[in-house]
């Protein structure tokens, strides 16, 4: 179940906001500091971050940077206090999902949290498919890889055969194998898969 990871150094905020989110049916885990969060397994789990921008030690902005370095794409909603606008702007520029000002409007916060969780789920699905395609691509032999690249580039079998110095029927066999191994139903399906992986 996707979880809201709440990080705030103020125990009252952790308690109150945790209670509010749970009452609204969300799974919540709270951390007193950025370091506590990094040291837990939460970084790998599905969910989103509700992060206090102003904290002693590692600040919210520091954690955001750290997560980017770790290639963790969990959406972050920053909690800002009075007069933290410049920090909020920096957070947004650095790719934060959004920021909410204390004290919060409960419904607005909940809406943004649901959106963030949806985004994370979508991102995770994309990631899973990418991993899947990459695994299937690894099954191809070098020759099949060569044929696949040329097929995806839109070359005719005749051209590919001349290019690689093999017969047209051999090209057709390789092509069939590639489609089977990648579980591609059509040429456009194959191209989509390659685009997904090529994004990496």
């Amino acid at each position: 179940m996707p979880t809201v990871f709440l990080i705030d150094d103020d125990p009252a905020i952790r308690d109150a906001v945790g209670l509010l989110l749970r009452a609204n049916g969300l799974a919540v885990e709270t951390f007193a500091s950025a370091v506590d969060f990094l040291e837990s397994d939460a970084v790998q789990r599905p969910g989103c971050l509700l992060l206090d921008v102003r904290m002693p030690g590692m600040s919210g902005l520091d954690l955001q940077k750290r997560l980017q370095e770790m290639d963790c794409r969990m959406p972050i909603i920053f909690i800002t206090g009075h007069g933290d606008v410049p920090m909020a702007i920096r957070a947004m520029k650095a790719g934060a999902f959004d920021f909410v000002e204390k004290p919060f409007q409960a419904q607005a916060l909940l809406d943004r949290l649901h959106e963030a969780l949806a985004l994370d789920a979508q991102e995770r699905r994309r990631q899973a498919r990418r991993n899947d395609v990459a695994a299937r691509l690894a099954l191809l032999s070098p020759r099949e890889q060569e044929v696949m690249e040329r097929v995806a580039a839109g070359q005719y079998n005749k051209v590919i055969a001349a290019d690689l110095g093999i017969s047209i029927s051999t090209v057709e066999i390789h092509r069939k194998r590639v489609m089977e191994k990648l579980q591609a139903t059509s040429l456009s399906d194959l191209i989509q898969m390659l685009a997904l992986v090529g994004g990496e």
């Binding site: 103020d10 009252a12 905020i13 308690d15 109150a16 906001v17 209670l19 509010l20 749970r22 009452a23 609204n24 102003r54 206090g81 009075h82 007069g83 204390k102 004290p103 919060f104 409960a106």
Partner: protein
């Protein structure tokens, strides 16, 4: 016997006489012999002659012996005399030589003295020249005042440069320089110059107005010049143009004032921002707790007992907010840890020195009515300085709209009773409306544009923290008097001596 020029003729004459006598004697003897034969009658006569000749020879010999003897004695005496003469001459020569040496010595001494006299004269002329060069080329005005003559004896040419007036004017109008002094400074300077005759010293700063209307700042110092009997008969002085320095000082002080104002403002902003953030935390928690409760209640199937914890959270966070506010109040009414025994008059002098520029710029006359030899008080000197400075600035602000000449600031100290020192800051400003008088010490109440309304309440809390009181009374004629009291320091009751308290304050 020596043979000399005198001896030879004597010998010759003696030889001649002896030869003559011998010839007579032989002649007679021959005659006697011849007579004895020829004429014996005549023999007695010839014998008688012979006897006479022999006798005369004996007599001559005797005479010669006597003469020789006499001569010999004279010679001896002469030799002795000569010897004595010789000695005398030697002695004389020695003395002459000695005298000559002495004279030579004296001569050289005299020559030396003359040379040094000449050198001294040259040196004197040089030093006079140097003095003149110095006096006429330095940028400061060098002056000499004769006490007996009752006039300025010398003024260097820089006077014309700085004052823009002719040096000759001193002879015609001795007080010409004083007319140039700025009207605001003139009385003070006149007094200082009268005192100068009595004390022999002078150290004043004043403004002059040049004929072209420009104002210059002068630093005038005088030093006593004494005669051999240690009696001051002249005063020598230097008057320096310190306009540039004064302007720089004024600017610096203005910047400091601005800086102080800015830092106070930024401090207030920072304090407000911190306070907002601090208060926002419990507020956010309270709102979140309440919303959680609302959510649960709306769902309709909540056991009210489940809400107890949530409401406890609300209560605790409300208390936390009020704790923050109490803490802030304590911060303003700072503790009393820095109390030291202090001389309130010295403190007032120090603060007034700091505020002098503001007073002068606002054309306010300051009167100090300080009671001398007041006992010390035990207080935090920095905080009391702040209060005094604030009260003075308050008075300056209150009087700036009043006509010039009526702006009088009186700072007074007195012993209110055996235990209390009273300080009063009296202004001749516009006074207070009844409404203002009532709300004077309320925070955020102000009659000044741009004022924060914190000065008086903070001042009051500072004075109250030292054990004293701060209040205001309207003056019978115009303006307001602010009074504050501070406790008299009684060291006998203190476990620490002054010295120990000072030692505690100093960093080791």
């Amino acid at each position: 016997m020596k043979l000399d020029n005198r001896t030879y003729p004597a010998l010759f004459s003696l030889l001649y006489i002896v030869t003559g006598w011998l010839w007579l004697l032989i002649d007679n003897l021959v005659l006697t012999v011849w007579m004895g034969g020829a004429a014996p009658a005549l023999l007695p006569t010839v014998l008688k002659n012979t006897v006479v000749i022999i006798a005369s020879g004996g007599l001559f010999y005797g005479l010669l012996r006597v003469h020789i003897h006499m001569t010999c004695r004279t010679r001896q005496q002469q030799e002795e005399i000569e010897e004595q003469l010789c000695c005398a001459r030697d002695d004389l020569e020695t003395r002459v030589q000695e005298r000559t040496t002495e004279l030579l010595k004296m001569n050289s001494t005299l020559t030396q003295q003359m040379a040094s006299r000449v050198q001294m004269e040259i040196a004197l002329r040089d030093s006079e020249e140097r003095f003149r060069q110095l006096a006429e080329h330095i940028r400061e005005v060098f002056w000499v005042y004769g006490i007996v003559e009752e006039r300025v004896l010398y003024v260097s040419p820089a006077y014309e440069e700085i004052w823009g007036r002719a040096v000759q004017s001193f002879d015609e109008r001795p007080l010409d320089w004083l007319e140039a002094v700025h009207p605001d400074d003139r009385l003070r300077i006149q007094e200082a110059h009268v005192d100068k005759h009595r004390l022999g010293h002078l150290d004043v700063e004043y403004r002059i107005v040049r004929p072209d209307g420009a104002i210059r700042w002068i630093w005038d110092r005088g030093f006593p010049v004494r005669d051999q009997t240690d009696h001051v008969y002249r005063i020598a002085g230097l008057a320096e143009d310190i306009t540039a320095r004064k302007l720089a000082e004024d600017q610096l002080r203005r910047q400091q004032v601005d800086l102080a104002r800015m830092s106070r403002l930024s401090l207030a902003v920072e304090l407000a921002s911190n306070l907002a953030h601090e208060l926002n935390q419990p507020l956010a928690a309270i709102v979140a707790y309440a919303q959680a409760c609302l959510t649960l209640l709306r769902q309709g199937h909540t056991d009210p007992r489940e809400l107890v914890g949530t409401f406890e959270g609300v209560v605790n966070q409300g208390l936390r907010a009020s704790e923050i506010i109490r803490h802030l109040r304590q911060l303003v009414q700072r503790q009393v840890a820095m109390q030291t025994p202090l001389d309130i008059n010295a403190l007032l002098h120090a603060v007034i020195h700091y505020a002098q520029l503001e007073l002068r710029q606002a054309r306010i006359d300051l009167h100090l009515e300080l009671t001398e030899s007041l006992p010390k008080t035990l207080a935090d000197d920095l905080q009391i300085q702040l209060v005094v400075l604030y009260l003075i600035r308050n008075a300056v602000d209150a009087m700036c709209q009043m006509p010039e000449g009526s702006r009088q600031l009186i700072v007074r100290t007195a012993l209110a009773s055996a235990d209390w020192i009273l300080v009063t800051v009296h202004d001749t400003g516009h006074g207070l409306s009844p409404e203002a008088a009532e709300r004077l010490f309320q925070p955020f109440f102000t009659t000044k544009p741009g004022g924060m309304g914190l000065g008086l309440p903070v001042s009051r809390s500072i004075i109250e923290a030292q054990g004293g009181q701060l209040w205001a009374t309207p003056n019978p004629d115009s303006g307001v008097s602010f009074h504050f009291t501070l406790p008299v320091y009684a060291p006998a009751h203190s476990p620490y001596s002054d010295h120990e308290l000072d030692a505690h304050r100093l960093p080791h």
